[in-house]
């Protein structure tokens, strides 16, 4: 069963259009959504969760219509949460009356694990603690699908690593899946199975993480030697003061073709920058 199945999704605004998007995320996957600010990641997530209505297209979550799947979905949304004047423990009192499978014991266990004081008022929490509370809330009703918008933003590296481990444990059950949007692309290099790269409302690239990181690379060439690189080998090209950074696919083949140049491994961040800021030709 697919965790997420999106067909021909379009959301039109006056100055921006998302889509048409077709996305299929199988159960058991962690999928990372990357792209610059305003690319459409949050719009996509909002469509998935019925926060906004798509102009057209169909969305199935866990094989069902969205409204029927909500009991099994946990969410962390950027800047959207409970009224800040409530106490941390109030969340459990409220959620008990919303989710049939709300697990109070599990919620308070997460609070303990995250060093969150149940009696604290939400607005007094630091950004990182607030994020931890959002994550605990998303997990405490035993969801099958997590949809997370910037879930690790504001967390220190130690807690971020703990949270990523929680997500990894979560998908040990093959019925479970995670879709997470983040600017911290290094997180995705550790945990994501697949990467969806959105730019200007369209999917620019959708590939398995290993394929992406193993296959793509950066070819570095001095400014005066750029003519030696065949145009068909260039996916994107970024000019610096003394050299060019060229995004290439089939890294090993390119290394053999241009033995005098170095083809470096690529990070998701470098890939994003090259795809967005780079030119098609040098």
């Amino acid at each position: 069963m697919d965790a997420i199945n999106v067909k021909d999704l379009v959301k039109e605004y006056r100055n921006f259009t998302l889509g048409s998007l077709n996305v299929t995320i199988p159960s058991g996957y962690i999928v990372g959504l990357i792209g610059e600010n305003g690319a459409g990641k949050t719009t996509f997530i909002k469509c998935l969760l019925e926060i906004i209505k798509p102009t057209k297209g169909t969305i199935k979550l866990l094989g069902q219509d969205i409204k029927d799947a909500k009991e099994d979905i946990g969410v962390v949304l950027d800047d959207m949460f409970f009224p800040e004047i409530l106490q941390v423990k109030d969340i459990s009192a409220v959620m008990k009356g919303i989710y049939q499978k709300w697990d109070e014991e599990l919620f308070f266990k997460y609070l303990k694990d995250f060093n969150l004081d149940p009696n604290k008022i939400i607005k007094t929490l630091s950004k990182g603690m607030h994020k931890k509370l959002e994550i605990a809330t998303a997990l405490a009703h035993h969801p099958k699908l997590l949809i997370l918008d910037e879930p690790t933003e504001g967390l220190d590296p130690v807690v971020r690593s703990e949270v990523l481990d929680i997500f990894l444990n979560f998908i040990q059950d093959e019925e479970h899946s995670v879709l997470l949007s983040t600017h911290i692309t290094s997180d995705l290099e550790h945990i994501a199975d697949r990467i969806i790269f959105i730019a200007d409302g369209k999917i620019l690239m959708e590939k398995d993480r290993d394929e992406l990181l193993d296959n793509y690379g950066i070819l570095k060439v001095n400014v005066d030697e750029i003519d030696k690189i065949a145009k068909e080998d260039i996916i994107a090209c970024l000019k610096h003061r003394y050299d060019y950074e060229i995004l290439v696919s089939e890294k090993d083949k390119i290394s053999k073709k241009y033995p005098n140049y170095i083809v470096d491994k690529i990070t998701l961040e470098e890939l994003m920058v090259l795809m967005i800021k780079g030119e098609r030709q040098c």
Partner: protein
């Protein structure tokens, strides 16, 4: 839906500063004029509930709640139910206090007058929120602030119009008939207006982009 009602009640509870001001307000005015005890508590309780829209908006609760099972519809239902419930309970408490004082020999309270005043306050309060809630659900708390004034002015105008209409000789028969069954007509009017308001709120909120 219980969770959504709890959220609103906990929001009010957490906002203890407003609750303290509320109590001082009620006490001060009750000592000055007994009529306030029947009017202020139910009205201010509904206002407290209405203030939760502001907290919801500040933290984008609506968008978050839309991701819950039956989230949108329950947000609307809970707001109406919580407001009606709290206003009713507070009205009932006021009635019990008035009854107690009357029983203890305090002749300041005319029971029939208290009941009619309470019912009228309850009715006006519910009609007021019935006018406001569809606007809140459509535009959010921030944008709806100005509308509160418009609704108050419109309601005063409406009541003034009704009083003027009732004084017309041609309608004397109708006025007498309604007067005989005033409580029934008040209840019918409250139920009908609340129901229409709820249906409008539901319709606009289910369509709204959050």
């Amino acid at each position: 839906m219980l969770g959504f009602i709890k959220k609103d009640l906990l929001t009010i509870k957490s906002n203890y500063k407003i609750l303290i001001v509320y109590l001082i307000f009620v006490l001060v005015f009750t000592f000055q004029n007994n009529a306030f005890i029947t009017f202020l508590p139910p009205y201010l309780s509904a206002m407290l509930l209405m203030s939760t829209f502001g907290y919801d908006e500040k933290n984008h609760w609506d968008a978050y709640a839309a991701t819950f099972p039956k989230g949108r519809i329950n947000v609307v239902r809970a707001k109406y139910l919580a407001t009606i419930l709290i206003t009713f309970i507070v009205s009932l408490l006021v009635f019990i206090i008035a009854l107690g004082l009357s029983y203890l020999g305090d002749d300041k309270f005319d029971m029939l007058e208290t009941i009619v005043t309470l019912l009228a306050t309850f009715g006006v309060t519910i009609i007021f929120i019935s006018c406001m809630y569809p606007v809140f659900f459509k535009y959010g708390a921030e944008k709806s602030r100005l509308v509160i004034l418009v609704v108050i002015v419109a309601m005063v105008g409406l009541f003034y119009g009704i009083i003027k209409l009732a004084s017309l000789k041609a309608l004397a028969g109708v006025v007498t008939f309604i007067g005989k069954h005033i409580i029934l007509f008040m209840i019918l009017a409250i139920v009908l207006i609340t129901y229409i308001s709820y249906i409008i709120s539901k319709k606009v909120y289910l369509k709204r982009e959050l």
